[in-house]
Amino acid sequence: MSEASTNNPAHAPKTSLLASDARTKRRETAEKRFRMYGIAAIAVGLFFLIVLAVTIVRSGLPAFTSAVVDIEFTLTEVQFDEAEGTVFKTKAYQGFFNAALAERLQAADFDVAFDEKAIERLLGKTGGTIREFFRANPDKLGEPVSFELPASSRVDGYFKGRVTRDTLVDSRFLQVSDLDIVDAMVDAGVIKTVFNWNFVTGADTGVDNPGGAGIGASVIGSFFMMLVVLVLSLPIGVAASIYLEEFAPQNRFTDLIEVNISNLAAVPSIVFGILGLAVFIQFMHLPQSAPLVGGLVLTLMTLPTIIISTRASLKAVPPSIREAALGVGASKMQTVFHHVLPLAMPGILTGTIIGLAQALGETAPLLLIGMVGFVARGYPDGVVSGFLDPNSAMPAQIYTWAARADAGFYEKAWGGIIILLLFLLAMNILAIILRRRFERRW
């Protein structure tokens, strides 16, 4: 021991509070350094978050718009009867449309030569849509009707910069000469970019039609799946935690259960997927690709999360509240349900919503039970069919799109991520609101 550190104050050298010694300086530098580490860590995190957000928005926003040809033309009854009398009916309608388009371009003083094949490359087979419309609304015959016909995905890509004159290789899908027609149509105001409602409400399409693909059907799939998860995992999870935390005796067996619940929370989700495949589909013969099965699998995955967070929030309720209730003659169950559970509610809800949000973003187990993206071809017919008919879920749909070759699907995948993140954001906001509502001081 040195002289200065003896306990006798008489031996201690006089020090000034205003001058800091070497020890104090070292401590202060260490504190400053630690603060810098913290700030640096947060800055790095924020940077990547911003990069992520910007990338997602930039790549995903184009999915929400699409190029359409907006053209108004009149079909007389004579033309209608004439077209219905031919063998290739839609072909006839296509002729009417092409004529109307040519007229429109000439009226705007654009002289571009085009043939039927070129129009087909730009807009697909337009005849079908027009015929459908007039067969459904015969009273519109003879008056001007305006049509918005979606341009092909490559023309759409030309508008969004995905396809350029330099990179385009002539093919049966699109030729460089077609772009002259597109430019002329833009100048004539025939073609325009509109909000792509079909992306939000539509279903998945085949691999050759990225333009028509929408995420709506898989949103519905996710919705029915989440319904199953919520209805099963919240009551089971909360009941299990209340029993384990408040009623179960503390012994080897409950310890074992506790350890295993913690372990389950760390099991990779794909394991739950293969378990679901074996148990729910192969053994119990539930329908393949059904949101019901997806929900069951995700319930298994969510339960540990809910149980762990519920038990933690039950534990956080001060024992004095339990004593107070027991002291006025409340039974154990009354104590739990009247006092402990309401106080633990914010924590339970937060845990549940975090669990649900995890389940909403889960892909791997869904692929194993067949809820792949291309299954989501249409909307279910009703509630029962919503649970049992093959459907996909948002993340699986995004995965499927990302794996497809056409660049149009790449854009759809990013757009799907935006929708998925919006749902997650909404759930987190809900969690915060519920937390605030139920939070009480004690």
Binding site: P318, R322, A324, L326, G329, H338
Partner: protein
């Protein structure tokens, strides 16, 4: 402490409310209470005193079976309330606790309104048929808890917003709202300042008109001020039990004398 008054504090003969015969309590292997026998009278304040860890709180919690909530705790011997064994398998501890109310060391109001705090007991025991009756019970309990005048205008405000002393009196009002016959108090003033303590003590003195009150306290002065009977516990045994005046002025056991005079404890 006024010796003259202590000696004059005569003890009328009251009925025996609680009778404990040879009570032993074990926490796993730890023998916490050793063969305690005591008779607690009705309409009397009985004080349990003794150094920390002597088992006075543990014994108090045996009287309304609060120890049941601790898994490893085992109680043997008989405790009779009005001649009925409270540890009889047929006894529902919840019914017992409605008869034997408890006030804790730290004020622990529910995070609810003052009204709901007091109303909780009567509600779960079905003591009030309608809102008017419940209101009446609450006013009566808060008056008996000597807190009515302070809270009558803010019954809808949270009980946790009151001061420490008010909270403790609210907890006492909550305990008497269920019409108990015995009131157990586990160091009810240890978290309170002297003024709040004085209010609670005054309240305890009034409560003995209607209830049998058992109070655990660290403060010998408090025991001398509020109680008629005093029990001195040491290392899990009941050393001496008798009239407060006698215990404080002329104890029989040398250990009691050492504690009273501040040599042990």
């Amino acid at each position: 402490m006024n010796d003259m008054r202590l000696l004059q504090r005569t003890q009328g003969m009251n009925d025996i409310k609680i009778q404990a015969n040879g009570v032993d309590v074990f926490y796993a292997d730890n023998h916490a209470i050793k063969d305690v026998s005591v008779e607690i009278e009705d309409k009397t304040v009985t004080a349990f005193i003794g150094p920390s860890g002597c088992g006075k709180s543990t014994f108090l919690r045996c009287l309304n079976r609060m120890n049941d909530t601790i898994d490893i705790c085992k109680v043997t011997g008989d405790i009779l309330l009005d001649g009925e064994d409270i540890y009889d398998p047929k006894v529902d501890p919840v019914q017992l606790r409605a008869k034997v109310g408890m006030v804790f060391q730290k004020p622990n109001p529910f995070p609810k309104s003052i009204y709901d705090n007091v109303a909780y007991g009567p509600r779960i025991h079905g003591l009030a048929k309608n809102k008017a009756e419940l209101d009446e019970i609450i006013e009566k309990s808060l008056r008996r808890g000597a807190i009515w005048d302070e809270v009558k205008d803010r019954l809808k405000q949270p009980g946790t917003g009151l001061s420490g002393g008010q909270q403790q009196r609210l907890c006492i009002a909550r305990a008497i709202a269920t019409e108990p016959e015995v009131l157990l108090m586990d160091e009810p003033c240890s978290a309170l300042d002297p003024i709040a303590t004085a209010q609670v003590e005054e309240l305890i003195d009034e409560l003995k008109q209607n209830y049998s009150v058992v109070i655990v306290t660290h403060s010998m002065q408090q025991a001398a001020r509020v109680s008629q009977k005093t029990a001195f516990f040491h290392l899990g045994s009941l050393v001496e039990y008798g009239e407060t005046g006698k215990i404080f002025t002329n104890p029989e056991d040398s250990r009691t004398e050492s504690y009273i005079t501040g040599r042990i404890g």
